[in-house]
């Protein structure tokens, strides 16, 4: 980041949420970089930035789309990069129909399920008949399930690192970019109406300011210069959040800012190991290394499973998935895993739909879940619709909370707000609760993976106090005792647990050796001369059972038997890449796809941005980083048409994990709600979608239930009952739900009380006083907060109308144990999810605000109900998948395989 010439921070308050990371922005600025902050609120990030652009929350696709349109219409993109390294020149199937022609839906939409069949988005194939039909090689994103609720793929995560399987890489390209079905021309047409005037009317950004941003990006991109984007949850927590990020990716590819120093899109992640817990996932839909969890009916055999990940004829390293999978199963099931039994593939449980945390909470409310482990999280405060979370906890038979302090999730049975309202009574709550004290980061040894994929080993400083223990020790012990109880069982269902490799060395305090686990993750040679040796790279993994490895992307962290995550060469003793501090996956590469930092012939695009290049004499890629490319592949190398896998990567295909080696401007697969980002309004929005009749993302996941109501949007009757927009965010001094901060005296003193940020204009409009109290009411709940009247929040003018936004930090919760307590902003939110990653929309919703404290007890419930009935809300409100269109449009949609009518969702569906 320090090498960027322009930094656009959008959907993130980096200075306050990643303060120490922000020094690199300051550093870049000191070196002359332009810094732009695009955010609804003026924050400390804006204060450092050269320009702050206030934007209406949830409209980022319009802004980014307009910049895309601007660079395409005025030929300002990085032509040579775009032609060589992206799929701009690739032709898309004749069956593809864009949202521009179908009034807000793409071809292949099924209104019955709310899901797309992405077949019509495919590339046109050059050699249809020559390509063997890979059975299962292409799977629609919905499988054969008719019900959106059962959609198993959280596509963006499942295919997080891979893109998606293509049958082959035999695509048709027109490098003049003139053919109307090239991705380039499709992109052009798609964003044609995303104009500066549209930005003004949708985002509330004046035309001159739009041009200022566009100019800064254009002037700071190309051979000599690079622009970097940084985002955080301001982009992800939306009903089309994954598409926000895609929009930035398209722009960055068009400007040639991927795989180059000072370029890229930085995801600023919020937790010490949130990257790691995605790589080695505690997530329902993936296995370590982004291998999918098997889905019943789609992945019944190992063969089906592997075919769905990659076809052997596509390009890149995903074709080696059989080796990664076999190695994982060998690491888990040891000698029991053999080629003859498909390495115990049958031992893996199967998904039949989405089993994410929000779906699970609804199942809890329905009494289907008996036991729940909550490990270093505080859903009673920190999850969206926190009220629903707390009510669900009371339906469990047993709950294990592992934490440092008695967080609200552990004490919900005695002091949750629902006890105060009379909805819950302690004596009636049957849940057994175990509170298990955890170890802090200094009381155990292990690795965190930080936001740039770097693993850093933490040495243990002291042993945990009292009965506190690490998760490593707890889960090892739990597993050991369950295995002991089942020993000798002949029940088939116990085989996976009994065959599990579960034998880790312990030290004199009985603590499990974390390095032994990291070695298992790294993987071993199991047979031959090198048996027992640690693998040095994932390229050594084999599909025949001769290697093991618990997470292929982490292989190499223990290369040569050395724990490389513990590397600690001081920064002043190495260069800027700092390759000897920690270890970044894959293979200690610090910039992914860095082959793109050189031109197609392998020469640096410019001296100034030199990073990795082809050394003709040595016949190798060399440079400042580990080349993210086959080290000896000549830039002029071209594969034979029948080659697949790594061998099929051309010398000028930098995007080696993509199935065609190119950066995807258009996603023919992998995104479940459309191949291109398109603007939809948020689930709750005071504004009608000016681009399409279709108001909201038709692919979003909705849960029409009486305990999950939505305010009317746009000009619908009742929308004026909740006239304001609120957005939630973090503060420097607190950490998510407060479990690690509201119990600390220093931090509590720095930020003692829940507050709301409002503009002086809004304060005057509703009579709010700085330092006084306000009550904020949404269609789900009402909370109170101290009022902070500040110019940092500015009213926006959207289509001539003044629109107020309210800022709410979300760190507080109601309990008795913390140093500071307060209402939780998450109580205001409902559940609507992005279909790609199943994340909730918490960055934008509708509310009313009034002076004074909220009522208590039953009166609180009555206040919320009074608003609901005034707005005329039912469980259907806001949950329509398709909005009504003209008969001609309906017919056009039907012809494109996108159904024709909007059935009302079943009101009782999923009711608990």
């Amino acid at each position: 980041m320090a090498n960027a010439d322009c930094i656009v921070i959008q959907g993130s308050n980096m200075a306050e949420c990643h303060p120490v990371g922000f020094q690199w922005v300051a550093e870049a600025k000191a070196r002359g970089a332009r810094v732009i902050h695009i955010d609804p609120r003026f924050t400390r990030t804006s204060a450092i930035a050269d320009t702050h652009v206030p934007v209406r929350a949830g409209t980022d696709v319009v802004l980014l789309g307009a910049i895309i349109n601007h660079v395409l219409s005025n030929d300002l993109y990085f032509h040579d990069y775009v032609v060589a390294y992206t799929n701009a020149a690739t032709l898309v199937s004749e069956d593809f129909v864009d949202t521009e022609d179908l009034d807000g839906v793409f071809s292949g939409y099924d209104p019955r399920t709310g899901a797309y069949d992405s077949e019509s988005w495919a590339y046109q194939s050059r050699a249809e008949p020559q390509v063997p039909d890979q059975e299962g090689g292409i799977q629609g994103p919905t499988g054969d399930e008719p019900d959106a609720k059962t959609r198993a793929h959280a596509g963006g995560h499942t295919l997080g690192a891979s893109g998606a399987a293509l049958e082959h890489a035999q695509v048709v390209r027109d490098e003049t970019l003139q053919h109307p079905r090239t991705v380039f021309q499709i992109l052009r047409r798609h964003y044609r109406r995303y104009t500066p005037e549209m930005v003004r009317d949708v985002c509330g950004i004046p035309v001159e300011q739009f041009h200022e941003v566009a100019r800064a990006i254009v002037e700071n991109s190309g051979r000599e210069r690079t622009t970097c984007f940084a985002y955080a949850l301001g982009w992800t927590q939306h009903s089309l959040g994954a598409q926000f990020i895609r929009a930035a990716a398209i722009l960055q590819l068009l400007m040639g800012n991927m795989g180059r120093p000072g370029g890229g899109i930085m995801a600023l992640r919020g937790h010490a190991c949130i990257q790691g817990s995605t790589d080695i996932p505690t997530l329902f839909n993936i296995l370590p290394g982004y291998l999918p969890m098997p889905v019943a009916g789609e992945h019944d055999t190992l063969e089906d499973y592997l075919a769905s990940i990659a076809s052997p004829l596509q390009k890149g390293y995903w074709t080696e998935a059989p080796a990664y999978t076999a190695s994982l199963l060998k690491a888990w099931f040891g000698d029991a895993a053999t080629p003859d039994n498909d390495f115990c593939y049958d031992y893996l449980p199967r998904l039949t739909g989405a089993h994410g945390t929000y779906q699970t909470v609804m199942e809890m409310l329905d009494g289907k879940v008996e036991g729940y482990f909550v490990v270093g999280q505080n859903p009673a405060v920190g999850s969206a619709h926190a009220r629903m979370q707390r009510l669900a906890l009371g339906q469990l038979r047993w709950l294990v909370v592992r934490d440092l302090q008695l967080i609200e999730t552990a004490t919900f049975w005695k002091d949750s707000p629902e006890i105060a309202t009379g909805e819950l009574r302690t004596e009636d709550i049957r849940t057994e609760v175990f509170f298990m004290p955890a170890a802090t980061h200094v009381e155990k040894a292990g690795t965190f993976t930080q936001t740039q994929r770097m693993l850093q080993w933490r040495h243990q400083a002291v042993t945990p106090p009292g009965q506190a223990q690490s998760e490593l020790d707890f889960y090892y012990e739990l597993g050991r005792r369950m295995r002991e109880r089942l020993a000798g069982s002949t029940d088939e269902r116990d085989r996976p647990l009994l065959d599990l490799t579960w034998d880790y060395p312990q030290d004199e305090h009985g603590e499990v050796d974390g390095e032994a686990v990291l070695r298992e993750i790294n993987g071993y040679h199991l047979t031959g001369d090198r048996a027992g040796e640690l693998l040095s790279s994932f390229t050594e993994m084999r599909a025949d059972g001769s290697t093991s490895g618990g997470c292929w992307i982490y292989t190499g962290v223990f290369a040569g038997g050395v724990n490389r995550s513990a590397n600690r060469v001081p920064r002043d003793q190495q260069d800027e890449t700092a390759a000897e501090w920690g270890w970044a996956w894959p293979m200690n590469r610090r910039i992914l796809y860095n082959r793109a930092s050189a031109d197609p012939q392998g020469r640096p695009w410019s001296e100034r941005k030199k990073y990795v290049w082809w050394d003709e004499e040595a016949g190798r890629w060399v440079g400042k980083d580990v080349p993210d490319f086959p080290a000896d592949r000549d830039p002029s190398y071209r594969p034979a048409p029948d080659q697949g896998g790594p061998a099929a990567i051309s010398g000028d295909d930098p995007f080696i994990m993509q199935s065609d080696g190119k950066g995807w401007l258009f996603a023919p697969k992998g995104m479940v709600d459309g191949p291109l980002p398109t603007h939809y309004e948020a689930q709750e929005s005071p504004v009608r979608n000016p681009l399409y009749t279709q108001q909201r993302n038709p692919g979003r996941l909705v849960y029409p239930r009486k305990d999950n109501l939505w305010s009317p949007s746009g000009d619908e009757p009742g929308s004026d009952v909740y006239p304001y927009v609120f957005t939630t965010y973090r503060l420097t001094e607190h950490h998510t739900a407060g479990g690690m901060s509201r119990w600390l005296p220093y931090l509590s003193e720095l930020q003692p009380e829940m507050f709301c940020e409002v503009s002086p204009e809004l304060a005057a409009e509703v009579g709010l006083e700085n330092g006084g109290w306000a009550t904020i009411v949404s269609a789900r709940s009402a909370i109170e907060a101290r009022v902070l009247v500040t110019d940092r929040v500015r009213p926006l003018t959207v289509k001539g109308r003044t629109l107020h936004q309210i800022g709410l930090p979300y760190h507080w919760g109601i309990g008795r144990d913390a140093v500071v307590e307060g209402d939780s902003a998450n109580d205001l939110l409902g559940l609507v999810l992005d279909p790609n990653v199943h994340i909730q929309e918490s960055k934008v919703a509708a509310c009313d605000i009034r002076p004074g404290r909220r009522p208590h007890g039953d009166a609180l419930l009555r206040l919320v109900e009074e608003y609901q009935s005034r707005a005329g809300i039912t469980a259907v409100t806001g949950n329509e998948r398709l909005d009504e269109v003209t008969p001609e449009m309906a017919a056009r949609r039907a012809a494109a395989g996108s159904g024709q009518q909007a059935p009302a969702p079943d009101e009782t569906e999923g009711e608990g």
């Binding site: 995560h157 919020g270 937790h271 010490a272 190991c273 949130i274 817990s277 996932p281 505690t282 329902f284 019943a296 049958d346 449980p349 199967r350 998904l351 089993h355 699970t360 879940v369 008996e370 729940y372 909550v374 270093g376 999280q377 969206a384 038979r397 047993w398 934490d403 057994e432 609760v433 509170f435 004290p437 200094v442 292990g446 965190f448 936001t451 770097m454 850093q456 040495h459 009292g466 998760e471 012990e477 739990l478 597993g479 369950m482 109880r485 269902r493 647990l497 599990l500 993750i521 600690r568 001081p570 800027e576 501090w581 420097t732 001094e733 950490h735 119990w743 990653v837 199943h838 994340i839």
Partner: protein, 190 residues
């Protein structure tokens, strides 16, 4: 308020002139107590390299240990990520370790009970293991409603991981998967 030396030379004005601290805001006005105070960092028995447990920037930390207690946590100047800096959270992490309200005992709340009771950790883990296996039995699905083999339990869920170590997430996912529990989630989706 103790004087800075007892002689005439200890007079403040002279001290300010002699030490070059003309504004009297530095060495000239330090008290004996201050001069005799040694930073906890210099009396520590050992210093251990660690990483901040809050956000994903991954700032380097130096943990100072004395008599098997953490006495101070500071930024690690060697770290190329953070160059010695910590934000208020990272700087407060010593309190995370030594917080007076920190729980170090296992607590159990029985169905319908209005208070916690203390139990032994060993007993608690045994109880949890039993409940795990029982819930798994109660809610086991060998086949789904379409007759496809799923071999799993929908009766056990888990939330958490983003604040934990990779090694811990690995053991959790491995154990849960082997027992057939699939509703395993963490902050990455929140």
């Amino acid at each position: 308020m103790a004087g800075n030396g007892s002689s005439f030379l200890g007079w403040p004005v002279l001290r300010q002139l002699a030490s070059g601290d003309l504004l009297g805001r530095g060495a000239a006005v330090t008290s004996r107590r201050t001069r005799e105070t040694e930073p906890r960092t210099s009396t520590a028995d050992r210093v251990v390299q660690s990483v901040c447990p809050y956000c994903a920037v991954g700032c380097g930390q130096r943990v100072f240990v004395k008599d098997e207690k953490v006495v101070q946590i500071e930024g690690d100047p060697d770290s190329p990520v953070s160059r010695g800096r910590l934000c208020p959270k990272g700087a407060a992490s010593e309190q995370l370790v030594n917080s007076p309200s920190r729980q170090t005992e296992v607590l159990y709340r029985a169905p319908g009970a209005t208070e916690w009771q203390r139990i032994d950790r060993d007993t608690a883990i045994d109880m949890i293991a039993e409940r795990y296996l029982e819930s798994r039995r109660n809610t086991w699905q060998e086949l789904d409603d379409k007759g496809r083999r799923v071999r799993r339990t929908m009766g056990i869920a888990s939330l958490g991981g983003a604040t934990l170590d990779n090694e811990e997430n690995y053991l959790m996912k491995k154990l849960y998967t082997a027992t057939g529990a699939i509703q395993i989630e963490n902050q990455a989706r929140i």
